[in-house]
Symmetry: none
Subunit: 240 residues, 4 copies
DNA sequence: TATGAATGAGAGTTCATTCAT
DNA sequence: CATGAATGAACTCTCATTCAT
């Protein structure tokens, strides 16, 4: 589309860029950010150390580029997923699956890298909200927000919901659970059922609440349980 | 109990130990693990670097000791909290408050340190389940598990609940949300209301389903009060 | 042969390499391996400490490189010496002089370095025979072996000789004696006469043994051997 | 024999001293002088580090004490050996066996320690001859010297022998050969035959010479010259 | 006499980054 | 644009030795 010449050279540059980013991603994921030297990265990418710094002026910049790419991909696949189905619950399940899969593909190290990034650059972006990562994360979580808001508009979800708490539970729950999931082998079915176990309680509490029938079942059963305990105490007392 | 002399020296040792741990905790929290040199820690603790390594053979060991202490405290306060109230929901609220407060007191960096620890020692404890941190975390989350299980036994919570998913949502949600909370100043009320916003959806989905529970709030609270009175009678009877 | 540019830079690299090795050799010799810090070496070589580790990844590697160079030189001069004269006894004298002179030029510390090296790397090369130093030493002592073997073939030396014992006496005697020699000032004549004092007893015991009967058996067998060679040459000439 | 009280306490002190020396000897031998920290030694000896420095003010002093003890033992057993047999050759064989066995019992590291010692204390005893080790070594090698001298007096050994060269060959040969011997397992027979292989050539060259070899030097040199001429002709022919 | 906590200098090594080529 | 040699500050950790108890 562009001039072939420019196109060609741009392609080569891009090739190198992605070589470096791939190598760095892999190493960061495997050994951690601090344990990965720029020398190792350059070697793994098949370029000289000088070149690495030619492309990314700083190790931190490289880290940010990786995270950026990761989020960009995450956002894109999330958007595609949301557009592919209609129901709010189905959309949430898709978002959850997408999130989990992306993290697992990267050995969950992306999460750690984000932590590192925030550690490292806390000096530059004293206000978390100004940090590039925050902006990316904001763009990403807005997708979830929009799905929920649309659910509200359509009446599937009660309107007095605290959206931010729901968001925290959704993403926090997934990420926290991932640690457990990680130990075992990647398993598509397990992921699916885990995702449901996370989403369902949230989905349930999101909905407008019907059924006046057995209204206070909880309290009823509490009463029943208490009665049982009283009875058993009475029995013991009688035997004593 | 011992000779005063010995006692004294033991105290001095312990003093030094805690000086070092305090200094290290502070610095790790402020600047991160990797950005804090042992030199800085020693200086901040008012001891020589040699002494630091005399007490903790390795920077990693020091990190582990800090995390250990943190968890120990967390576990203790959680247990106390659980024992101080009776209702399951109240207990969950207390656990959540305790968790959040502990994290915020440490500038939420404890979470990062745990990540660092797992990164660093992944080589030693190839199986995450064998790592000391996992064991501590297990002990801690068992408190939550027990609260929920007891709720089930007493009939307050439906028995077909997926406990592990609930745990993930609970702790994950809190930790994820903490980031947002952190930016603002510490505020006891805000924490309380945030905690409710996290716990309520979970509590709701834990209970037997489709209850109109909140629809007739008045009756509900009367029942609630009665339940509580009965329960406390039971407690007293059992202890007698 | 190459571009002068490349050639030049290669030269500069080699210059640096040898600067470092020279400085290290000197310091190791003067103060011993353990007492010489990499810092000192770098300073003496006029490079930064980083550069030192750029060239030799480890202090041990540097040590090995020095020993390697030392042996290489030793081997070369020994070979030249052997080729420059014909008689077995003369060759042994030359080898001895060469050995002694090389050691004395390095203040005899090379021997100590070899010991250090073997100490240090005993863990890496559990089998002594696999250590690089052993291989170098083997190459070197083979020169002595070959001289003796040729002496046997030519009949100057009795064939029932225990070569390994002879080798031990030769090199061991020289090195042991060197300590004594070291204290005094370098003295070409003294070395020459000392060398004879060491070699002569060995030479004597190498030759076919007394029995006054055929008094000059050695010379006789030399004559016989020479005749045989002459005869075989004549044969070849006749066939040509 | 002494006062029981003093005796007792002296015994305890001596016990401790020897505990420390034994532990240090073992560790020095196994890991080398520099790789063995005083902490390790103290732990292995079952005393505190303070105590170690109480007995031996310095790590170097400890080293010297060990070497001193080693030599003392070596000297004693050598003297006993010499007195137990009469023949000069037998005495030399015994001395050699004794030397070899002592070194092998200590994993040959004693030799290295001596080197270390000389390195370390070269600053204190700028003149080798004044160093304590030199004195010990002198006392020890005098035993060899005396055996040889007595052999001369009794007429077993020719009187124009260069004693110092003989000594260098004897001890140097043994120590050099030990490296080879070390690799294999300790084997009493092997040691015996090795010792003979070392001593015999020396013994041979020590004896009064019945060969006419040197007696008729004139004839000899004529033969020699003829040989050389023949040989050079052969060389030229072969190269042609 | 025996202890072991405390020291601080110094060790080897790593590292992100620069810059002349 | 690409290189990789060069840097030197900073790192964690070790060590022989001291000294108050």
């Amino acid at each position: 589309m562009d001039k072939p010449d420019k196109n060609k050279s741009r392609t080569r540059l891009e090739q190198r860029e992605s070589d470096i980013m791939d190598a760095a991603s892999k190493l960061f994921a495997e050994e951690g950010f601090h344990a990965t030297s720029t020398r190792k990265i350059a070697a793994a990418a098949g370029v000289s150390e000088g070149t690495l710094f030619h492309y990314y002026g700083t190790k931190n910049v490289l880290l940010l580029a990786i995270l950026d790419g990761f989020y960009e991909q995450l956002i894109e696949s999330a958007r595609e997923g949301v557009e592919s189905v209609m129901g709010t619950r189905e959309r949430l399940l898709l978002l959850a699956k997408n999130h989990l899969r992306a993290l697992m593909d990267n050995q969950a190290l992306m999460m750690r890298l984000i932590q590192v990034y925030l550690s490292v650059d806390i000096y530059y972006y004293q206000d978390y909200k100004k940090s590039p990562i925050h902006k990316l994360n904001y763009r990403y979580t807005r997708i979830f927000d929009n799905v929920v808001r649309e659910g509200m508009e359509r009446g599937y979800i009660r309107e007095d919901l605290e959206l931010s708490a729901m968001r925290d539970l959704f993403f926090g729950g997934l990420e926290y659970g991932m640690r457990t999931l990680m130990g075992r082998k990647y398993n598509r079915e397990r992921v699916a059922s885990y995702v449901e176990a996370i989403v369902d309680p949230l989905w349930q509490s999101m909905q407008t609440q019907h059924s006046t029938a057995d209204s206070n079942a909880a309290d009823n059963s509490r009463l029943e349980a208490t009665c049982k305990r009283l009875e058993s105490i009475v029995e013991r007392l009688e035997q004593a």
